[in-house]
Subunit: 282 residues, 2 copies
């Protein structure tokens, strides 16, 4: 990966970066979490809402309220009373998946499992830097993002409510694929995941903190475009359409370093996280 | 599950319970982790070693030394100098899998994915309370335990070293299935997983703690049989051969509560954790 040509590293646009500052930890260390928002054609209604919420500084003063082991960390307004900014849209349920085709669909048939056997799911594949799944056959154009570790989704009440984007969660365990197509995925954590995954587990139902004092305050959440130019973090992801990613995926499926005796002969899509790196320019 | 007949809950023998006490946390709360060891025909050489190590109080004064996000927490002797007790056996690599057949193999063909498509893996299945995988075809008798969240394995150096059982780890992220058949799995965490999964991530290579002060002391690790009778914890698992487990597995693959719109139509074996409950007798 260190030898990948620069052309295979794709810059992430600053309007796709949500920078969330949690309160300092008990040792006084700062805790920054950076989320990359998904590109079209996925979940853009919720993502527009998220940009509105960030512009309104809506998350400032809210908190992380739920940490359920091997499942999710969730944040937002614990009081459920904080007024939302105007201009948010209500997104229909059928936007959980795309309905237009996706170019450059990278199926990696020799590597990715399962295929053609997961209920209505035909294949998983990478596209444009993201883990996706698709129906097979006549529903080929119907595609959706996958609930891998670190992916960020939109909390909601019962169907047909789809959530606004104000209540967000990230996956901290085995991929909960049963949430695919039942919840909007809007992005993934690309920095500071450990500040969420290592939080104390909540002891209430579903891992909610029982004592409000356990909640972790969110100091601020801003799009990178709303930060001073010098403070904007810069990230790149490894193109999933390039030769380096193909070699990386194959190496994940068949480990060949001296530690391993038996190559697995395949990998699930969530065992092949898309490489992301921080760019520090002088 | 609350309606399962008592006959479907299987008592876990006290000689299969390893009770590990970590030092109290920063708030003075005790941290107990209970591990269930695997039954035959899996990994019994390492498990015999683990029983010897516990009897010798070998882990007392060792520590948790490595926490790698979305991968493993590892504990043992950070100095790598502590003498091992006599009587430990060297277990050959081919014991990573069983070579005798396993009765009551529960394939759940309508539920479990992938099947027949994961390299040399033919099927996953439950047996005797554990998640397993098998080759298909003529190698049918060749079966092995699966690296799900919370499973406990034996750290080792490079092949053909197989580790003694003194260095242990548990999975805290997406199932690292590439470790199957490359490492001995010996059990799973059945209580106190949160005391391991929520530890601060290490910042050294592979998630090792760089500052020895970050290590989490292990006060003691004992087989339940070596605890006073009144202090022995009692656990049961839900039989994977019973009708209740079959219904539970189907419900995990096809969620039908009002939250869900689209049932997944299948589940990976690590998304169907075997239910374990603590028994409190008066």
């Amino acid at each position: 990966m260190a030898q990948a040509p620069a052309s295979e590293w794709v810059a992430i646009a600053p309007e796709d970066l949500l920078v969330m500052e949690l309160s300092a930890d008990r040792d006084g260390k700062s805790r920054r979490v950076v989320i990359q928002l998904m590109p079209p054609p996925f979940s853009q209604g919720w993502i527009d809402n998220i940009r509105e919420l960030a512009a309104a500084h809506w998350w400032d003063g809210t908190s992380v309220n739920r940490v359920q082991d091997n499942y999710v960390v969730q944040w937002g307004d614990a009081s459920e009373q904080k007024p939302l900014p105007g201009g948010l849209v209500t997104v229909p349920e059928d936007e959980y998946a795309s309905h237009g085709d996706v170019p450059d669909w990278q199926r990696f048939d020799d590597i990715l499992v399962p295929k053609g056997t997961f209920g209505n799911e035909g294949y998983t594949a990478f596209n444009n830097g993201w883990p996706l799944a698709a129906k097979g056959g006549p529903d080929w154009a119907y595609k959706w993002p996958v609930h891998c570790y670190g992916m960020v989704g939109v909390g909601r009440y019962l169907s047909p409510d789809t959530g606004t984007g104000a209540e967000l969660y990230t996956v901290i365990g085995q991929a909960p694929r049963h949430l695919d197509r039942n919840i909007a995925l809007v992005g993934r954590v690309i920095e500071g995941m450990e500040h969420l995954s290592s939080l104390p587990r909540g002891t209430g139902d579903l891992g909610f903190y029982e004592d409000p004092a356990q909640r972790v305050p969110i100091v601020s959440a801003r799009l990178a475009t709303d930060l001073p130019q010098a403070a904007q973090p810069k990230f790149q992801y490894l193109s999933t359409e390039g030769a380096t990613f193909a070699r990386y995926a194959e190496a994940r499926a068949n480990r060949r370093d001296p530690f391993f005796n038996v190559p697995a002969g395949g990998a699930e899509i969530c065992n092949i996280p898309v490489p992301v790196r921080k760019v520090t320019e002088n």
